[in-house]
Structure formats: C-alpha cells, structure tokens
Amino acid sequence: MSVRVAKPGALSTLQDLGRFGYQRFGVVVGGAMDEWSHRAANLLVGNRESEATLEITLIGPSLAFAETTLIALCGADLSPRIGERPLPLHRPVLLRAGSQLDFGRRQSGCRAYLAVRGGYHVAPVMDSKSTYLRAGFGGFEGRALRKDDEIPIGADDAEDYYPELGQSLREGGDPFCAPSWAVGPSFAFTAETSQAIRVIAGQQWEALTDGGQAQFVSAAFRITPNSDRMGYRLEGPKLDLRKPIEMISEGVTFGTIQLPPDGNPIVLMADRQTTGGYPKVANVASVDLPLLAQMMPDQRVRFELISLEEAQRLYLVREQDMNLATQAIRERRQAP
C-alpha cells in the first residue's frame, strides 16, 4: 500500500513524538509541533501514539490512496474533502480505494495531522521518523513531500479495524465512511480564542526588570512572519534585563522563551537547537504548547504566569484525558 502525492501543499512533513536520546550529540528533537493532535490522530486509527503522522501546514496537499485506507485528521481545519464531500475531523474515516484527499481554505489553526492505520513505512533514523529539514534526514528522504512521491503506508486490517465502517463502505456507495462520534473538544485546538498561553517562570525571570516582568504578563506579543518550526519570534514591548547577563550555553526545551539582546522574546518550538545561550525568562506550560503550535504569524499572544506545580498538575490531568479517550476509542471499536 502507498499514498501518492498529487500536489505537495505548502509544507508537509512526516513527524512523530521526536528524536529523544540524541540531544547530547547536538541532534535536534523535532517531532510534531502539536503533540496532542498528533497523538489523537494516531489513537483514532489504532496506532501507537509514537507512530509518524503527516504534519500539514496551512495549505494542504492532494493525496491519492490506491487502496482502502483508514485515516484520521486532527488539529487545524484546512477544509479537507474527498471530491465535493467535506471530510470530518477528529474521528476515524475509512476511505474507498481510489480516493483523493484534497484540502481547501484554512478555517482554523495552522497544522493538521494525518494518521493512517499502520503508519508510514519509512526507516527510522536515530530511532525516529521525524523529518529534520535543516540537516536533511528522517521522515521521507529527509525532506518535505513533493509531487509524485509514493510513500509506503498501511496495515492489512485497515478495512475492518472498525467493523461497522468496513461494512458500510462495502454496502453503500459513499466515497468514505465515518462514525458520528469524534474525540472531545480538548483535542481540537482551534487557536482562535483569546485564551492566554500559560507559562512558568524561567531561570532568568528574576533578571527581568519589574517593568519587564509586568509587560511580559500583560502585553500582547505579535507572532512575526519569520516564525517557523524552530521558533516563534515575538514582537511587542521590548523587555529589559536589570543588567546584561553572561550566559553559558546549556540545555533548552520545547516552549523555552529566550530573550536575546534585542529584547524580543523567542519561543523555542519543535525544531529548536539542543542548547541555547540566551537568558530564559519563561517556559510555556506543556499543556498550552498545542495551542501555540496552532497559532498563525501575525496572531497576538498573551502570557499568564502559573506555578510549576500547577503546570504539572494540568499536564497530568491532560494525560488522564488522553488515557480515557484511548479507552473510549477502543470500546467504540468493539461495540458500534
């Protein structure tokens, strides 16, 4: 089985949960920008959540499926459709052999995640299928998808993984079949809200002036257009340090907010470097990273300071939600 790329879209790359265990060699973690949508998409098709999905950015590709394929799309709504029929998000969808998946106008969010039952059959590099574009390795040939690429995918049990979907597809004439249920709203980050992004104070938070601290949690920062998978460059009131700090490079993580000398913060995202030498004023709480990952250049972001304990409590609650969703999906499979 394979999927053929009829049109590549703006930036479509295979990503999983990242390339951990190699940061000590300077190897970037990468992985899905919106880990929640990525995980949910995999769970819906019965994959391990660490399987790769296709991260689709802003303008979707056109993908031709030669055989019956079970897919799920989560995250941004980029108006997916089969022919003239809109394809529902956040649920499993069984595509009839010969279907072409197209995308249209962006309705909400920035990145959609396409999981296929059985996953994408590319060789892991350093234990991960994530594409790292800057060094050209991982994913499909170390690059974004191009026209006429054929990516091996799938598993033999796709058609009857959800028996009722297989039956409806065989009996009816529809181009695809999907259930009426979907995963809950906590898995559908629309990023159109004015909700503040919650952050935890960083190691150099105290080095900000009082004014700088006050502005950080009250001002709106614009996500500038030169933001990408590596980092979001923000623009707003210049944040000042009490005095310049001599930093020695050390580890950073997903969501670390660095403050370079120009006073404009940078939020480190999936393709961040492994170490950094700028003051770290804050770190985005992991539960709000998916929201940030779905935000667009020119959108404005506000920050709200919470404690590390609160961030970890929220994180554990979200993990519990994911476990409950996993269980619920499994039950749907057995009892239609």
Binding site: F20, G21, Y22, Q23, R24, F25, G26, V27, V28, V29, V125, M126, R134, A135, F137, G138, I200, G202, Q203, I248, S249, E250, G251, V252, T253, F254, G255, T256, Q273, T274, T275, K280, N283, V284, A285, S286, L308, E309, A311, Q312, R313, Y315, L316, E319
Partner: protein, 276 residues
C-alpha cells in the same frame, strides 16, 4: 584520521574531585575499577519548564566543571531513571528531560519535578564514577589555506602573530570536547591557547561550509553542517563530523582530546575524496 588510546598520567584526576576515603583502597587494589567521586558542592537544580530540569555545577567554562558535568551525565546514562528520556551535558551543566506522567505519584501528592529532583540530589550526594569512556586522542587534519581561512590573516594581525604562528599555536593547544550542540555533531572545544583568544565577529556570516574550523574566545568549533555562524574561520577539515546513519552519529565524542594537524590542499582533496 588516527585514533589512539590516550593514557593519562597517574594521579591526573583533577583537583576539583575529592576522593572519598572508602574509595582510596579500591583505587590502590585495581586502577581500572571505577572510582567513586563526590561531586563538588555548590551545584544547583533548576526547572526548565514542566518536562526538563538542569543541574548546574558552576558558572565558568572550565575543564574540571565540565568533567563533573560529563561524569554525572555518564552516570545517568548508565543508571537510567524511569521517566527520563534525554540527558544533555553542556559546558557546566546537565539538562535532564523527562515524562512527568512516569514520575507521578497520586498518593504522595509530590510533583514530578520534586520527585525527580530528590532522586538526582541523592545521586549527587552519593557521588558518581569517573567517566568510563576510553579517553581518545583524535587527530583532525585541517587545511589552513586561503580558500578555507578567510579570517586567518585578521586573527594573526589582531593577535600580533604571523599566520604560521597561529597555525602552530592552534595545533599545539590541548583541545578537549566540552559540548556538542548548536547543530548535530557540532563540537565546542576548550583548551585554545590564550594568545589566540578573539571575540566573535560583529556580523555573523549567513553560510559557513561544513568542516570549517573556527575560533572565538578561548574555544575552537568545527561547523558540522552548513549553517550561519559568527566565529572566525581559520581552516577546514575534510572529515565528516556528522553521519545520521552511523552509530554514534558524531565523529567526536564528549571528552575527546583533539589535535589539529595541518595538511596541504592536495591532501585535503585526497581525504575528501576518501570520505565521499
């Protein structure tokens, strides 16, 4: 490239490590057995968000502090803690990335950060073995020719040296790999002769070819991939520093001693052809 085992002189253990009394007899009985070392006090543990923490052993770039960081990183690699997914030693610190859900304990009400922090504190209080890595000396051939060394003349002028003296001092400096970072396989080497200390360039270059050898302050770096960069470019090696399919993927490892050996343009071309 020649790689040879590098035996260190007896007693060369570094002053910052105080030997515990109990380990002294072990050392006498079997010099190859790992020696338990206490960690110099004054380390700090700080959260980096809700999925990472950093243990910091000092606030200056220094061989002993760096060796402590590497020892602790090695220990954590050899004795994995459930829930820890990545260990990233840097100049003076070790970053520890973890999955909070694997460190949660609903009954105790302790946060995952506090639980991991307590584990790390116990390890540091107990001391860790000296690095088990075989100490290697890696010879890195470098062509210091004009085509590869756009900043060599400027470095020489600023340091009041001739080009030949710069090359000689660079080759004679006792380089050691302190950290891999910035890009995959990109080594930061300490040990540069203080006479070659230069600030970084005011305006970084947008494209520096892979293999370029560069200096800034008292460090040398080798650009492992084509990237932007602000260091002073003094030569190029034909060796590949990063090979994603290899295991490990990097030519140089933390703690490696490195000697730069000048080569001609012809030799560079021959070695480069061999690498391809």
């Amino acid at each position: 490239m020649a790689v040879e085992p590098h035996r260190r002189a007896p007693g060369d253990h570094g002053a910052a490590f105080a030997h515990r009394d109990s380990s002294g007899s072990q050392r006498g009985a079997n010099p190859d057995k790992p020696i338990v070392r206490s960690i110099p006090t004054g380390w700090r543990i700080e959260p980096v968000g809700d999925r990472c923490l950093i243990v910091e052993f000092g606030r200056r770039v220094d061989e002993e502090i760096n060796r402590t960081a590497r020892s602790v990183a090695d220990h954590l690699m050899a004795h994995p803690i459930e829930g820890v997914i990545d260990i990233v030693p840097a100049f003076t610190s070790v970053a520890i990335h973890y999955r909070p859900e694997a460190l949660a304990d609903s009954s105790a009400g302790d946060s995952p950060h506090r639980r991991l922090r307590a584990r790390i504190e116990a390890i540091l209080a107990q001391g860790v073995a000296r690095p088990s890595e075989s100490l290697r000396l890696v010879e890195v051939p470098v062509c210091y020719g004009d085509a590869f060394a756009p900043d060599l003349a400027e470095v020489a002028a600023a340091c009041g040296l001739t080009r030949e003296q710069v090359i000689e001092l660079h080759g004679a400096s006792p380089h050691i790999v302190y950290m891999l970072g910035f890009a995959p396989g990109f080594p930061y080497l300490g040990g540069l002769d203080a006479r070659l200390a230069m600030p970084r360039r005011a305006t970084p270059r947008t494209r520096i070819p892979a293999g370029t050898v560069a200096i800034a302050r008292e460090q040398t770096a080798i650009y492992s991939l084509e990237t932007p960069g602000g260091w002073n470019l003094i030569g190029r090696t034909p060796l590949k520093l990063f090979t994603p399919q290899a295991s490990p993927p990097c030519l140089l490892q933390l703690g490696d001693r490195v000697r730069f050996v000048p080569i001609s343009l012809e030799r560079f071309a021959a070695l480069e052809a061999q690498q391809a």
